[in-house]
């Protein structure tokens, strides 16, 4: 069992990092927030081209997955770069559809998910009540009791993270019956990749903060020389360093009875660590981190939004304890 990435997985992460750096995703996110989706959809296709979405689609349906370790590797990079779009929703849907009893017509969407031609969104109330970016999704689903249904999006709601455009949904046409187990697995995978995204964005905020405190001077010294600032950043690191193995460990336990429990442990830890990193980033940046125009503040906002997305820390702690006690 590999508790660290192998050479190929590391290379995959580095390739995505490079691809994303070149795509300047903060600008993409700002466009996305303003309703200009084309750059984001182009990035979607690039990432699909790099194989990201196929990781969630079964081989039988033209994919390569589900490959949870590769998925969390990819989402770590999506998080680091603040990429906008319903990636977690699409991955969760792919896992859900892949687990439906054979021959469900909805499975026909899987190849299009794998190759990036389909952007998908999903609401899974109560934990995921809104469908992210439903206005750009070719398919929007929801689960109502046992049934998988098409979802009819309503008005967009404004999130603290301007690149997250949330839509309340009304359940529509029934797509599949007895979909609850598949939906549960989709939910777990969505929560897992969201956790990976959180660790990635927490990491990035830490990197940005370290750069900032090395150069920002107050009282005649770089503020990174003040012990209070140093200790804030050290604490952020400690949190993130221990969230990462939980995310990786949960990916490893995919397919075992512990998966749901381990995903919850990972999501709690990633949400708390990333949010703590965001608060610390804000504090050491001072006013500049509090501005809309400073790109990393997009990550500060996303950290708060994802803190309660895909199940709040409280809900995930409850799942851990009910698995244990």
């Amino acid at each position: 069992m590999r508790f660290v990435l192998d050479a190929e997985q590391r290379l995959f992460g580095e390739t995505l990092d490079k691809l994303l750096t070149e795509a300047a995703p903060f600008g993409v996110a700002r466009d996305w927030a303003a309703g200009r989706h084309e750059p984001g959809l182009a990035l979607w296709r690039s990432l699909a081209g790099a194989g990201v979405l196929a990781l969630a689609v079964p081989e039988s349906a033209g994919g390569a997955g589900p490959l949870p370790v590769e998925l969390v590797t990819a989402f770590h990079e999506l998080g680091r770069h603040g990429v906008p779009g319903p990636y977690a929703e699409t991955v969760a849907t792919a896992v859900l559809l892949g687990r439906l009893p054979g021959g469900s017509p909805a499975s026909a969407w899987l190849p299009a998910i794998a190759d990036g031609t389909a952007v998908v969104s999903l609401a899974l109330p109560p934990a995921v009540p809104y469908a992210l970016d439903a206005d750009v999704a070719g398919l929007v689903l929801t689960v109502d009791g046992q049934e998988l249904r098409a979802a009819v999006p309503g008005e967009a709601r404004t999130s603290l993270d301007p690149a997250r455009r949330l839509f309340a949904v009304t359940p529509g046409e029934v797509i599949a019956e007895e979909a609850a187990a598949a939906a549960a697995e989709g939910y777990d995978m969505g929560a897992l990749v969201c956790a990976a995204q959180l660790v990635g964005l927490g990491r990035r905020l830490l990197e940005v903060s370290v750069d900032h405190v090395r150069t920002r001077r107050q009282f005649g010294r770089p503020i990174g020389e003040f012990q209070a600032v140093r200790h804030h950043l050290a604490n952020a690191l400690v949190g993130l360093e221990y969230a990462r193995p939980l995310v990786h460990g949960a990916a490893l336990s995919y397919g075992t009875p512990d998966f749901a429990r381990d995903v919850s442990a990972a999501k709690v830890s990633a949400a708390e660590a990333a949010y703590a990193a965001a608060r610390i980033a804000l504090q050491v940046h001072g006013a500049i981190g509090y501005t809309d125009e400073y790109d990393p503040s997009l990550l500060i906002r996303k950290a708060r939004a994802l803190h309660s997305a895909w199940g709040s820390p409280a809900a995930h702690r409850a799942r851990v304890m009910s698995a244990l006690a």
């Binding site: 009540p129 709601r157 997250r164 107050q218 009282f219 001072g286 006013a287 809309d292 709040s312």
Partner: protein
């Protein structure tokens, strides 16, 4: 000192009565927008007409000479009523106390009444790109000119400056002087030739502050506060005040805690004691802040550096209270609304008016008496 709470009760009743009749039924648009700014200015006029905009000021400037206790009572009622945010607060809470201490009678008579009525809204202009908490490293200059001063350079994070009428702050008038010396405290117009303002959006996009660029902006001598070169001392008197009760009165947190309890009743899962405990803590801390406020105004000695203790406390309380609300709202916590706006506002607390790290240094040095040190 004995505080006669009951003596303030008739004042409380008057305030409550008036607010009940006048507080707008639907909240005004956010005061960090152009439309909201205008609406809030109109609201200040309405308050002023009832002599409720600056209750603790002398009557001649539009106040009613309220005691500190009455002021606390006013604030409790004001926030409990859900009345609009105070668009004039930078002037009322930060400039006016400075004027009461250092202003000339002419300045008081000229500046305060239109401040009280909302006719002139003031923006604080202290920070510069290279000088946030480290005020002594200010670089924007005031140069002697005929009958006044010429301002040049840049200020930033100027609260309210996107829409305000005038600004105030320290400028470097003697470039040769040591860090804390050679500053002069001035009031200046924001619409004068030579002033460029660039609104800056905070993290919810609202232009809550602005960058200001000065290009030979003329300020007459009568708009200097205190003596030229004494701007550091003048600024520090504002700072002490800013960190005390005025910047955040207990009433604000009492009302927020009460609303949180209400949110808990409406949306909380009664069996979720984890959240319940955090709601309880917010309420307890708001109550502690209230009692500490009564204690503070009962004392006759100077509270001095204890204002730093207050600032750390209220700013952490404010963040914790709003985080609790967002967590209570679960997946709705990220959605725009009253609680999210309060959360965004709270995040600035530990940063501005001297970061909490600086405040803890001040506490260590001036309250606990620890040796001064390179921080």
């Amino acid at each position: 000192m004995d505080l006669d709470l009951s003596a303030a009760e008739s004042f409380r009743a008057e305030v409550r009565h008036w607010l009940r009749a006048h507080v707008p039924a639907t909240p005004l648009p956010s005061l960090e927008t152009g439309e909201g700014f205008a609406a809030h200015r109109a609201w200040e006029r309405e308050l002023h007409a009832a002599r409720l905009s600056v209750v603790s000021w002398p009557e001649e400037y539009g106040g009613r000479n309220a005691t500190p206790l009455e002021w606390l009572v006013f604030e409790e009622e004001y926030y409990a009523a859900g009345a609009p945010g105070r668009v004039g607060q930078n002037g009322v809470n930060l400039l006016a106390p400075t004027l009461f201490r250092y202003g000339t009678p002419e300045q008081l008579a000229r500046v305060l009444p239109p401040m009280a009525s909302g006719e002139v809204i003031w923006a604080q202009a202290w920070s510069e790109p290279g000088a946030g908490s480290d005020l002594a490293s200010l670089r924007a200059t005031a140069t002697r000119a005929d009958g006044g001063w010429l301002l040049n350079g840049q200020k930033t994070w100027s609260s309210r400056a996107a829409f305000a009428d005038r600004g105030f702050g320290p400028f470097r008038s003697d470039p040769e002087a040591e860090r804390h010396r050679g500053l002069t405290y001035l009031m200046f117009p924001l619409d004068a030739p030579g002033v460029t303002r660039r609104p800056i959006g905070r993290i919810d996009g609202k232009p809550a502050f602005a960058e200001l660029f000065f290009d030979d902006v003329f300020v007459p001598d009568r708009d200097v506060i205190g003596d030229p070169g004494e701007g550091w001392r003048v600024a520090m008197s504002t700072t002490g005040n800013e960190r005390g009760l005025t910047l955040r009165s207990p009433g604000r947190f009492l009302a927020a805690a009460d609303r949180l309890v209400e949110l808990w009743r409406e949306r909380g899962d009664a069996s979720d004691t984890a959240l319940r405990d955090r709601v309880a803590d917010a309420w307890i801390r708001a109550r502690a802040y209230r009692l500490k406020g009564f204690e503070t105004i009962s004392r006759t000695d100077d509270i001095g550096a204890e204002s730093s203790v207050n600032k750390v406390f209220w700013s952490e309380l404010d963040v914790a209270l709003h985080e609790t609300a967002l967590d209570l709202l679960g997946p709705d916590g990220e959605l725009a609304g009253e609680w999210l706006e309060g959360y965004v506002f709270s995040l600035a607390g530990p940063i501005y008016a001297g970061t909490n790290e600086i405040q803890r240094d001040v506490i260590a040095e001036r309250v606990l008496g620890l040796p001064r040190a390179g921080r």
